[in-house]
């Protein structure tokens, strides 16, 4: 009670801030920061401890083996690593242009009144629980993909060899599409915010030089927001890599490497969620190993994006200056 009385009024708080030595604040902030570092370290160490039995019984090569067959103590993760990358790639190939396009439209083209409505609609998509996306994908989207999208893609792009086999519904393509719907709000909302804060002087300056609206967007706005856009991309990738329940419902969960975008496949998260409840011993440990691999992939993607941001933001700044 007494602390509240002393801290609540503005003047009193300012007084106490002045009264306390700087070191206390520094210490407090350091403690808060340390909690996060500690959490990450604890998390990493416990994952490694749990996964260790798998590494000690199977060596390191098991990660890149092709066969997952717990009945014969085979725990190869390759099909799931490939599946994780494939579904994420499909999702991003769709989400990046559509998300960026929507964001540009919302930030610069759409009239104000419509802007709020559209933004709310996209943000609502972000609030839908992932299991609902999964069920919707399985019950509603799967028949549409099987009856219309897969036959269409097969007839148009069949020559690529990516669409061999029967039209099934659940599989890589459907999982990629569901992930696209799920990462779109992230991609769109963050892109819109970073595009909106590009300094108006630059936009107006370009227009004054006679640039068309399209040239302004392409040469000034997008390069200016490059760092933030890569951030949006990283977050969207992270969500696509790690999505679990929705993917498990629509991907068909085959333990084999898919030969076609229409084939059932599996991802690291779907493997974990499907098998965790009933697994013991080496299998359980291998699932923790799968989690560790997923973590490494996530960190690698994040790091690559950071490097890209660093190199392109310099180049971007230079190009803006030249333009």
């Amino acid at each position: 009670m007494t602390t509240r009385e002393t801290t609540q009024p503005r003047g009193a708080r300012r007084g106490s801030r002045l009264g306390l030595p700087n070191g206390v604040y520094r210490g407090l902030l350091a403690a808060v920061a340390a909690i996060f570092v500690g959490l990450v370290a604890w998390f990493l160490v416990s994952m490694i401890v749990q996964a260790k039995p798998a590494f000690s019984t199977l060596g390191f090569s098991w990660i890149f083996q092709k066969t997952w067959d717990p009945n014969h103590q085979k725990f190869g993760l390759l099909p799931f690593i490939i599946g994780t990358f494939e579904t994420t790639a499909i999702a991003l190939v769709l989400a990046v242009p559509i998300g960026l396009g929507t964001a540009l439209a919302l930030a610069y083209l759409v009239p104000h009144r419509l802007r709020a409505l559209l933004s709310t609609a996209v943000e609502l998509l972000a609030a839908v629980p992932s299991v609902v996306y999964g069920l919707w994908g399985l019950i509603v989207l799967a028949p549409l993909v099987r009856e219309y999208l897969e036959p269409f893609l097969t007839s148009v792009l069949g020559w690529t060899g990516l669409f061999n086999g029967p039209n099934q519904g659940p599989g890589l393509l459907l999982a990629g599409i569901i992930l696209f719907v799920m990462v779109l709000p992230t991609m769109m909302a963050i892109s819109r915010d970073v595009l909106a804060v590009v300094p108006n002087e630059q936009v107006e300056g370009a227009m004054a030089l006679g640039a068309t609206r399209w040239q302004v967007l392409r040469k000034v706005v997008v390069p200016g927001a490059r760092t933030g856009l890569l951030g949006a991309f990283t977050l969207a990738t992270g969500r696509a890599l790690g999505e679990t329940v929705a993917v498990a419902l629509v991907i068909g969960n085959s333990n084999f490497i898919a030969h076609s975008l229409k084939s059932p496949a599996a991802t690291l998260p779907s493997l974990i969620v499907n098998n965790f409840g009933e697994s013991t011993g080496t299998e359980l440990s291998a699932l923790f190993g799968a989690g560790l691999v997923l973590l490494v992939i996530g960190v690698a993607v994040n790091a690559t994006a950071r490097v890209l941001v660093r190199s392109t933001s310099r180049a971007g700044a230079a190009s803006v200056a030249v333009a």
Binding site: D69, G252, F256, G277, E278
Partner: protein, 393 residues
């Protein structure tokens, strides 16, 4: 094996539905078999009848407290209703059951964090080896009976499809690829089957349902089934796998020309179309509470090491059936909670107690001989001082 947890009004309609369906299915099953009705090895009521009520009365005098239990999701809807009913009748003893999956339930039991566990398949010798030696022997008893339906989505075919083990093995290992394959048409004379590709629908998660189904194929199809008996099967790449019964069910509903194995309670409650399956006597039998019960009646001397009841003889036996198991320590660490454990389990696995709630939830009652055997087993469970915990009133 996960029939969804249910709520009040839905449960009521479901109960009516289940009773109606059970009656219809029993009739159908009776019609489909030309030979004599099933012979049960134990007369109705069983040997247990005389002392039954005195045990059941004493079961409801368990000491107050709270028990924790965990495991199978298949048995969870039954356990939640049965334990709720038990607590209503025996004020003061609560049972908190978490449906965390059989594997997790067994792990919890090995670590001693639960008073008892439930699993779709009894603990294996390697599981048992992980129980600390100081804990003493483990006791496992059947707690309820269930069946596995072969549900399908076959547009334009209104006649019920008949299948046998060899054909099912071919469909699920990917060697029989279309509905009008000669193996299927041979079993269904007079039915026009489409030439569409079959989509096998299977479980993505480790499951007791998969175990019972693969056990049936291994025993009834013999060498034609090469994928083994397990809770997880490495299915051919043509199969579509979805987690839980609800996932497989949803996938079958949204995929024409698909076929999958779904826990019977779930298939009954969702009005699925399921195949008549050829049993050991050569009859095509529709799964129902009655026909699954008939299969179990054929072999009641099950034990944790010899628990399979698939493909039993008997004219009306539905061959893809299996028990769910409750797991407890033979020497309880506390006389008070120990008495609670044995009394709750005795009540739950007895006619006159929890078994009377089974049919309404589309589960099948344990045969009287199995109930009897359970009581004999529970009478060997003792407290820390060696005293028998199950009592008569």
């Amino acid at each position: 094996m996960t029939p969804q947890a249910d709520s009040g009004p839905r449960r009521r309609t479901r109960r009516l539905l289940a009773v109606g369906l059970a009656a219809t299915a029993a009739l159908l099953a009776a019609c489909s078999s030309s030979s004599a009705p099933a012979t049960t090895t134990v007369p109705p009521g069983g040997v247990k009848a005389p002392g039954n009520s005195s045990y059941l009365t004493a079961d409801l005098n368990a000491p107050a407290g709270a028990l924790t239990a965990a495991g199978s999701t298949f048995v969870q809807p039954f356990f939640s209703v049965a334990f709720h009913d038990y607590t209503a009748k025996n004020q003061g003893l609560q049972v908190n059951y978490s449906g965390v999956g059989s594997g997790n339930g067994i792990t919890d039991f090995e670590q001693g964090t639960v008073n008892f566990a439930a699993s779709d398949v009894p603990m294996s010798s390697s599981d048992l080896a992980k129980v600390p030696a100081a804990s003493g022997p483990v006791v496992q008893i059947p707690d309820i009976l269930g069946g596995v339906s072969i549900s399908y989505n076959l547009p334009g075919v209104s006649t019920r499809v008949k299948l046998d083990a060899a054909t099912l093995a071919g469909i699920f290992d990917g060697t029989i690829k279309t509905w009008n394959a000669s193996q299927i048409t041979a079993l269904n004379p007079g039915v026009t089957l489409p030439s569409n590709a079959i989509v096998p629908e299977v479980r993505a998660d480790s499951s007791g349902t998969t175990y019972i189904f693969s056990d049936y194929l291994a025993k009834a199809a013999g060498s034609a089934w090469t994928l083994g008996t397990s809770k997880t099967i490495t299915w051919p790449s043509s199969a579509v796998a979805t987690p839980k019964n609800s996932g497989v069910a949803g996938s079958i509903q949204s995929t024409p020309y698909s076929i999958g194995y779904v826990e019977l309670a779930y298939a009954i409650q969702n009005h699925f179309t399921y195949a008549a399956v050829k049993n050991a006597a050569g009859n095509y039998v529709i799964p129902s509470l009655a026909t699954v019960g008939a299969d179990a009646d054929q072999r009641t001397n099950v034990s944790p090491t010899d628990f399979s009841i698939v493909n039993e003889p008997g004219a009306t036996s539905y061959p893809i059936s299996g028990y769910s198991w409750a797991i407890l320590l033979q020497k309880q660490t506390s006389a008070t909670t120990g008495a609670g454990v044995v009394k709750v389990l005795d009540w739950t696995t007895s006619t006159g107690g929890g078994q009377d709630l089974a049919a309404a939830l589309s589960y099948v009652k344990l045969p009287p001989a199995v109930q009897n055997q359970n009581r004999t087993t529970l009478l060997t469970v003792t407290g820390p001082g060696g005293q028998v915990l199950l009592t008569k009133s």
